[in-house]
Amino acid sequence: MADNTRTIEIEVLRYRPEQDQEPFYQTFSVPFADDWSVLQGLQYIKDDLDSSLSFRWSCRMAICGSCGYMIDGVPKLGCRTFLRHYYPHKVRVGPLENFPIERDLVVGIDDFIGKLEGIKPYIIPREPRTLEQGEYLQTPAQRDQYEQYSSCINCLLCYAACPQYGLNPGFTGPAALALLHRYNADSRDQGWEARQEVVNAEDGVWRCMLIGYCSEVCPKGVDPAHAINQNKVNSTLDYFGVLKFLLPKGAAK
């Protein structure tokens, strides 16, 4: 045991559907080393104190997107948030907001998966490309137009941050719209027409009120607020029939 071990109170939300009517908070005393993440604290609870505690996690290094929780009311990755920052206060860990709770810290994300599939997350070229034509060529400047939007790890912190998603579960949402923009902004893609129905719908970009909290909490700098709000302009130009004059070499259907 390290000689500077301290103990912190972690208050975790519990909900067992087979026995609980409502969720409730349960407090655990967790001895921790200085470099422990909140995720490690949860793992200690599961390993040593209460093996029934359920939570998602995988890589421990902020790339798989599994360990998103509300930590003291803010959407964060458990593996990238450290207990020492909350000590000596207690730290409250809850499931991501705006999603239904399945069990403890595990939320139902089926809705998001459906939306991800619905935005056509693949290159849609004007014509199919043959092998003989060789690879696509793309300059660093062209790559720069979409690179940050391709960094999304689907951690859903942005959905937990977005009150519009909470108020309107039909909203396509930040991550899905950012990924949609990632493809539209890729020089290899001419898929605006194929995706425009999602963009132009009430539950598309128009649900967004530019609260901006999604971009604030994103651990990967994707800036979904930027992706969505650029497309309000595109959607408006499209509405007035002007966008087609601005799209490079016409869009694929």
């Binding site: 009150p163 108020l167 129905e197 999602v198 132009n200 719908a201 009430e202 539950d203 598309g204 128009w206 009120m209 309000k232 959607s235 408006t236 509405y239 007035f240």
Partner: protein, 118 residues
Amino acid sequence: MKRANEPIFWSLFGAGGVLSALLGPILILLTGIVAPVGLWMPPEAVGYPRMLAFAQSWCGKALLLAVISLFLWHAMHRIYHSLHDLGVHAGAGAATICYGFALAATLATAYLLLIIGF
């Protein structure tokens, strides 16, 4: 999914947002505080003869119509969407009242500016 008609209202919201971001603070300061209190401004600056001449000029009409109309299209769009944020689900009725008010104010201002003369 049905295409939303939001672009119309969002465009008006945006135009009003830019105009009110540029002119809102100074106009409120001048008409609401400086002129009434009489600071740094002689009373003739906002007196009837000068204001009438302003409202009778094309430039003045354009400015007055733009400010009153676009400020309201901007504000009513925001208010309508904020009602939803606050849990008021009044749907089409609320939209009609909010945007209807902006439209009515626009028409009323245009009419008044016409009857004020040239």
